[in-house]
Symmetry: C5
Subunit: 321 residues, 5 copies
Amino acid sequence: MLINCVAYQEGKKLNSIPVEEISDYIQKEACFVWVALKDATTAELKQMQDEFGLHDLAVEDAQQGHQRPKIEEYGDSLFAVMHTVEFIDGELNVGEVDVFVAENYVLSTRNRTHEGFLGVRARCEKEPHHLVQGSAFVFYALMDAVVDRYFPVVVALETELETIEEQIFTKGSQRANIERLYELKRKVTILKHAVAPLLEAVGKLEGGRVPPIVANTKDYFRDVQDHLYRINTSIDSIRDTISTAIQVNLSMVSIDESEVNKRLAAWAAIFAVATAFVGVWGMNFEHMPELQWKYGYPVSLGIVAVICGYLYYRFKKSGWL
Amino acid sequence: MLINCVAYQEGKKLNSIPVEEISDYIQKEACFVWVALKDATTAELKQMQDEFGLHDLAVEDAQQGHQRPKIEEYGDSLFAVMHTVEFIDGELNVGEVDVFVAENYVLSTRNRTHEGFLGVRARCEKEPHHLVQGSAFVFYALMDAVVDRYFPVVVALETELETIEEQIFTKGSQRANIERLYELKRKVTILKHAVAPLLEAVGKLEGGRVPPIVANTKDYFRDVQDHLYRINTSIDSIRDTISTAIQVNLSMVSIDESEVNKRLAAWAAIFAVATAFVGVWGMNFEHMPELQWKYGYPVSLGIVAVICGYLYYRFKKSGWL
Amino acid sequence: MLINCVAYQEGKKLNSIPVEEISDYIQKEACFVWVALKDATTAELKQMQDEFGLHDLAVEDAQQGHQRPKIEEYGDSLFAVMHTVEFIDGELNVGEVDVFVAENYVLSTRNRTHEGFLGVRARCEKEPHHLVQGSAFVFYALMDAVVDRYFPVVVALETELETIEEQIFTKGSQRANIERLYELKRKVTILKHAVAPLLEAVGKLEGGRVPPIVANTKDYFRDVQDHLYRINTSIDSIRDTISTAIQVNLSMVSIDESEVNKRLAAWAAIFAVATAFVGVWGMNFEHMPELQWKYGYPVSLGIVAVICGYLYYRFKKSGWL
Amino acid sequence: MLINCVAYQEGKKLNSIPVEEISDYIQKEACFVWVALKDATTAELKQMQDEFGLHDLAVEDAQQGHQRPKIEEYGDSLFAVMHTVEFIDGELNVGEVDVFVAENYVLSTRNRTHEGFLGVRARCEKEPHHLVQGSAFVFYALMDAVVDRYFPVVVALETELETIEEQIFTKGSQRANIERLYELKRKVTILKHAVAPLLEAVGKLEGGRVPPIVANTKDYFRDVQDHLYRINTSIDSIRDTISTAIQVNLSMVSIDESEVNKRLAAWAAIFAVATAFVGVWGMNFEHMPELQWKYGYPVSLGIVAVICGYLYYRFKKSGWL
Amino acid sequence: MLINCVAYQEGKKLNSIPVEEISDYIQKEACFVWVALKDATTAELKQMQDEFGLHDLAVEDAQQGHQRPKIEEYGDSLFAVMHTVEFIDGELNVGEVDVFVAENYVLSTRNRTHEGFLGVRARCEKEPHHLVQGSAFVFYALMDAVVDRYFPVVVALETELETIEEQIFTKGSQRANIERLYELKRKVTILKHAVAPLLEAVGKLEGGRVPPIVANTKDYFRDVQDHLYRINTSIDSIRDTISTAIQVNLSMVSIDESEVNKRLAAWAAIFAVATAFVGVWGMNFEHMPELQWKYGYPVSLGIVAVICGYLYYRFKKSGWL
């Protein structure tokens, strides 16, 4: 679905143009066309390929979708695949934004994403002193928007981790903890798969030999790369903490179990002793003088109580009870 | 076994040719010969070596089989070893495809593979505008076919992992889970050994100094490399998840055991108390007044019941029962 | 908040100057201006940007704060972000020091830090033979101060680790140990995030192509890098030891539990035997000759005592009790 | 001990020569001398050093033995240390083969190895078309022989691993498994220490700047490197599987223990209930009407049997028994 | 404290010279001065700095001590920090040797080391054909001495590891094992911190761009590097084995515990059965015909004995007892 198709010249919007005229506009001096598609059909992509002269392999990738994040050079043009990651109903939703960019055009198409990029266009049009840098700046702006949307996701995952951490030394919460840690790990992995390859790819726009089209906007891409570094560090940190937390949680299970075992042992001992003693006086020997004593019964109960009490005291002192 | 031996010129099929004439055809301008063997014998390989002038070491490798995936340059020609991975009766079957490729020939021989590559030839012949790029394109098409067949294997392994994950927090399934995780790990390792070395090898066809023969088809091999990256990332992700799942499974065993222990402790306590109490009234002291009481028996039973009931209530409340 | 704004010439302090005159002073030969801000407002930063001609992206970073440690080149100037790490009430407090440095100015602004850097200025002014090297030396002095303050933090963390290690083989301290190890790991991670990216960034001031502004002070930055290496090695060593300690702690839990289980088993066996024996003589068979014996009762008690004593001796010998 | 000392010219054996004449022969055109020593004494090495003009440090290394595998350039000559790994009586035996090689000589000395390299010489002499490539080919042939002997060792270790894997889910074999896994890990480490440094060293003979002496035999060393890669991959795979197997084995111990605990809990409960019930009817209250009932006894036994049977049924159904 | 101050010319000792004349001697052709200090004071270092013209930062490092091992270039001179590791009373003692070396001087100062380096000087003076290579050879000789002293430490740690390994499958030694493994890990880490940074630093004296002063002694430093590689590999191997041993030890704890649990379960079952049975005949029903039988008592005991015996046999057979 076509969202927008606008021509810009020297940082200012000329006007919306019909798709058929794209090939005319991209011939003009200091002019570039910015087209936005959403869930583009094969036919739409074919039309764009004809108008812009896109490379077969890049169009094929955009059509198939489900590419890994990457930035590829095709002659003078770039083809970028980025993943959007959004929280929808507590679940991470991964979408894809594909961008074709050259001297005089930017074509972006987004798939399976919830939130659009109209805001990016609005902001660009409000800042003609930036937009005058041409299509590379638009490319930067789109990428910056995608990357900025990773931050709230990271924060949400960090918050979830902190919530689990508060529970980790609480008795009886280990089963819930381990389930939540596993679930969190799953989500972090999803985000990692969006961030890490993009971080690697952006490096090619910033250091060493840089594609000519982004040569003047290198500093901007370094800034994006910096954001990606920060996100990536946070992700690695969460992953590392999850690993430790799983280990610690297992330790807590063992410690809890050990304490339960001790308590079990203590009470079992106390009652086993009582049972053995009363069993003695339940024996049927004829000559058991204490059975005839007047206070034999209360004395016997007293003896049992004293012994059990002493055991209780000992176990209490050694921390088993 | 010879499957096919065909000469092509300017992207179009000339005709099937006898093996003996290969050496004539590969002299012709803009012409290349594409030979496909299956489970080639030493004699067949020897004949091919003579016709194409293949390097000793490469032919030796193809003869021995069981090479690791690799791409080697011998002068102007390339020798590639790729592994096919197929699911046959639920078990992974690893085959080998060896390709010799130079300006004017492609020789492929497959061993221990189930599915052939006739479809690749058919597709190539249908697209003469691609095939005109010569033997390097055929090489790409073969490699692309091998790599594309990894995807369903990855999907099958991911599905298996998800099935296990659904069971991981289910009580009593830990023994089955651990066996399935171990088995899955084994399969993933097999696939990894096919993918990782090939990914490394393909890098040499795409970046830095590229062998002259693939110079014009660099973009295609970058595409293949990209697919391999994606597969490799999925494999690493599965491996990582398996490790975590094994740890989590162990935690679940401990948690389950801990709960069983608590329940055991609780019931043992209840019955130990009952036994100790009835033991008291089974003692043979002469002066135990309650034994003569009319309602002594039901009262005693009541006392035991009350105490046990109270314990039951306490254990229930603290979650032990 | 402006802390200081001073002009220096040939290593000597000229005088404090008003902010508005900065742009005049930075034109002069062999003269540089050193401005220190604290928790700078947007307006202050804007003013500084105008006076010094700072790059948009760098100023934006300084404004937002919460950057990762880094050193970026903007033309002839450098922009550095460093994290301060201080112990405040037993908790690690992370602040940020941003430094803009060029041939003729140094602008530092610190946020969320407790301790200031007045001492650095004092020391620099006392050593004109060093200060004559210009703004790059000031940059070094600031970085050196930040890095030197990591050392006491590392020492505190190492001391905490040693305290835990002394407890690790003590029975009954496993729950406390695991909590403290987890907390320590958290703190170490905070410090790691300050040190590791800075270490990487400083490398760019020391080896390979070095920004011209620090070309003459390379040896100083190598010295800083060396300190960071040492800190980083200590951090990695602490992290590694924590991992091992968590594992060892889990082993100790299991070993303790195992010993408790053995003791439980032993006592349970002793009393189970006694109970079974006295139960025998509590049976109501008519023909049980020993019940009529005169010394039947003491003999029976003796038998039970001997058996239990023998069991106790056996368990004691095998280390179960 | 001198094994062999032979001069070759243009791929053909001239004849065995006395050690004293070596220095004459190595002056001749297109001629090289191939000397093989075994457990060489200091005197023998000294003599060789004089005849061949070997470097002090290399000779010292050969004398001391116990070097790590490596290939070092000394001017125009190479000094290689390789480890042989042989299975002798089920234990891995590590020997050392040191090779000095230059344009016109090859000197090999083996220490602590069981099997010799006479076969290598025989094979070389049978293939004069290969041997004509000179001393570098001999060097390759020796290295190839060393590396080929790693394969059966790898296969033996893989077989051992598979044998353990078949036992890993068998109850009661965990103690044996863990011992065998530990032992296997030890052996794999021994092999790893022979293979990994050699793999690294051979890389210097194949890619980048290659020592002139092996420039024409690069493809051969690439082949050796390829074999080493394969062996190294297998080793890493075994190591990885051992790690997983140790973890899985621990899980199996826990699962088994958990099942034992459940069974214990179940039987304990059944008998505790029975004991408590028969204890009730063993109380000495005067007014217990059921004691006088004619069928009181069998009814009481029936009640106990029914209750225990019901418990048994419940435990059976829930999988505890 | 000054140990020695000697001038050498063309490989031969001239004579001991007073410190004040150093600056004269280092002007002479083909002459170098070799000074050894021990626990040098600030004043001594200051004096040396004046005589030799040492760099501020290097002297500062030497004064502070506790540097990480490193080799730094200051113009034409080198500054090296090495750690000595000695076993003193079973504990590892880490000392420091700092070496300043240039064309015409070597200044070494050792701190906190037990054993000196007089032997190195003696050996050098005995080999004038080596010493003629000048100060770089002395530098090599010192480094070689430091590195050679790591070997006995590695051997001691390996021996300790083997002693633990012999105990690892012995029942009841797990607590001692884990303590010793932890202690061993600590010691290995100390050695690692001495070796790994030095290994990295020496690489700069051997490959790529080499400081001019060591250009002629490259082969010697490659030899040292080789020793360090070997030590480092041994250390990594010990560390890896410790990790596995800790895991295996935990498995052994679990396996032992599991066996104890089974034995407990078995004996508990046997006595619980006996107790339940004798409880039956202790019931007070009037109509229990077997109570009146003449051989009721021995028969009842027989029944209990048979049942318990059968259970014992079953448990024995299944390996629980």
